[in-house]
């Protein structure tokens, strides 16, 4: 538990993410930012300056795939911990149907059964797939270790898929970051590990019912 002076007066806090989960999440986040910036330099000359952040073009090119491999290992280690909470359930369909109304504050959020809502779950699964594609295509184009053994037509395909998936991922991560910023109380969950009871009851009533008893002071 955090010292009480950091905590708003009122009900006690619930633990949403453990130390290990938060540290892995932020390691993945740092790796992603570095990966995206280094990859961007190779996508469009307008962004070539980002290679300066990595010691110039040649070193940026060397470091990008190593960052990618690190990222993939961290991401899948993290994703494995979350897989059970991200399995889709029938009520997720209802949540998705009301998603746009909720996003525009035109209606209440459809009650969420588990730890994550359907939007979070779809983000989870899309990242699991997109990062797998990025990993496989990235390995195929990794000079000098793998690319020399890969037929050139396959490398062409890998290059194009890698670039396309990088943008799908940018959109996904963009939505993820914005949703966290928009949903007040979420960033606290991933930085300090805790959420208020009110937050839990509001956003994840099912999860609240499950953990409130356990976590009560």
């Amino acid at each position: 538990m955090r010292p009480m002076e950091n905590v708003p007066a009122g009900p006690a806090l619930l633990t949403r993410y453990t130390h290990a989960e938060r540290l892995t999440h932020w390691a993945v986040a740092v790796a992603y930012v570095a990966l995206f910036l280094s990859g961007l330099a190779m996508f469009h000359p307008f962004f070539y300056w980002t290679s300066a952040l990595f010691g110039g073009g040649p070193f940026m090119r060397v470091i990008h795939p190593f960052l990618g491999a690190t990222f993939a290992v961290l991401f899948y280690a993290y994703a494995l911990r979350l897989v059970r909470d991200n399995l889709l359930v029938p009520s997720d369909r209802r949540w998705l149907a009301g998603m746009f109304r909720y996003m525009n504050k035109k209606g209440a959020e459809i009650p969420v059964e588990g730890k994550y809502n359907a939007g979070q779950k779809l983000m989870y699964w899309s990242m699991v797939v997109v990062i797998a594609l990025l990993l496989v295509t990235g390995l195929l184009m990794w000079r000098p270790y793998f690319a020399p053994g890969v037929p050139i037509p396959l490398r062409r395909l890998a290059n194009a898929i890698h670039a396309a998936m990088a943008f799908v991922m940018f959109v996904g991560i963009g939505i993820h970051v914005y949703a966290a910023y928009w949903t007040k109380g979420s960033i606290r969950a991933m930085t300090r590990g805790t959420v208020t009871r009110a937050w839990a009851r509001f956003h994840h009533p099912g999860w609240y019912a499950k953990v409130a008893g356990k976590d009560a002071p």
């Binding site: 708003p8 009122g10 009900p11 330099a41 190779m42 996508f43 469009h44 000359p45 307008f46 070539y48 290679s51 073009g57 040649p58 940026m60 090119r61 060397v62 996003m103 525009n104 504050k105 209440a108 959020e109 184009m141 000079r143 000098p144 690319a147 020399p148 050139i152 037509p153 490398r155 062409r156 395909l157 290059n159 194009a160 670039a163 396309a164 943008f167 940018f170 959109v171 963009g174 939505i175 914005y178 910023y181 928009w182 949903t183 007040k184 109380g185 208020t196 009871r197 009110a198 937050w199 839990a200 009851r201 509001f202 956003h203």
Partner: protein, 292 residues
């Protein structure tokens, strides 16, 4: 550094025009390789090594005249030897000088993400600037002829320069200079096309009715032109219709790049606008998270 005595007309990964104030006075150049005259002596390989100060690893003899077996970072031209059945003419021994064809529309240059690492001079020569190369290998995916090779020592791409340093001061490439049978010629592209036409006419008179020029239109012509006595490029292991792969053209092209940038801008703008219009999703702590 690009040779500043030659104009640069195209630079890889550049959003602005290449420095080209002297353009207009420089004619397109071309090397003509007349396969029918080549005796496979490999003097051109030796001359290339000598002029460019290249010494490849000594390989092993695999029971063929072809040596080295393939283009490398230090073998920019290789004589390839093929024993080939050619229709009713029976077994033919075909000798093809392999190396960069210096495409008018170079796929390597279009694919390259490093600004100025690949340039094209006003005379048509496509040159790698190794000091700017980042070693990504995209040039290999752009090339329809499988020409660029990477050095294991510096991870930079190398290929035939068409002796741009010699051409810049009015000399012919080292391979052309040394060729003892006039299988190689060098001059303006127009002159080389005329010479090629003449050679093809001679070959046809000698009974090689299929003789043809190889100057593929898919890459807007090349600055290395072949005369192929049996015509069909496939016999010489040259692609029949080479072009920059549509995948590379799309992914490295303006549309995909613009779409990518607009996507990123779109995500940021959408986020800001949504926040300004809808405002944050807050939970009223005093209401204990009761649903509105």
């Amino acid at each position: 550094m690009a040779l500043m005595s030659l104009d640069v007309t195209r630079r890889s990964a550049s959003t602005s025009a290449a420095p080209s104030v002297r353009s207009g006075a420089i004619p397109d150049v071309a090397k003509l390789i007349d396969v029918s005259r080549c005796i496979g002596c490999k003097a051109c390989q030796a001359a290339c090594m000598e002029w460019n100060d290249l010494r490849d690893e000594v390989g092993t003899n695999l029971g063929t005249l072809q040596n080295p077996q393939d283009l490398t970072d230090r073998s920019w031209t290789v004589m390839r030897f093929y024993e080939q059945e050619v229709g009713d003419r029976g077994l033919q021994w075909l000798i093809v000088k392999d190396g960069c064809l210096h495409c008018e529309d170079p796929g390597c240059l279009r694919a390259c993400p490093a600004p100025g690492a690949i340039v094209q001079y006003a005379n048509g020569i496509v040159d790698f600037q190794q000091d700017r190369c980042i070693g990504c290998g995209y040039c290999q995916t752009g090339c329809p002829f499988d020409v660029p090779r990477f050095s294991a020592r510096d991870q930079k791409a190398y290929k035939c320069t068409l002796c741009s340093d010699r051409v810049a001061v009015g000399l012919e490439p080292a391979c052309v200079k040394t060729c003892p049978t006039q299988a190689l010629s060098f001059g303006s592209k127009a002159d080389m096309r005329d010479l090629a036409d003449e050679r093809v006419r001679e070959l046809r008179e000698r009974g090689l009715g299929q003789a043809a020029i190889y100057d593929p239109a898919g890459v807007k012509g090349t600055h290395v032109v072949y005369v192929l006595p049996h015509g069909d490029p496939g016999l010489y292991r040259l692609p029949a219709k080479p072009e920059v792969s549509p995948l590379v053209a799309f992914w490295r092209g303006g549309v995909a790049k613009t779409l990518g940038v607009l996507t990123m801008v779109g995500v940021v703008v959408a986020g800001i606008f949504h926040y300004m219009k809808v405002g944050p999703m807050e939970v009223d702590e005093h209401e204990e998270g009761r649903r509105p």
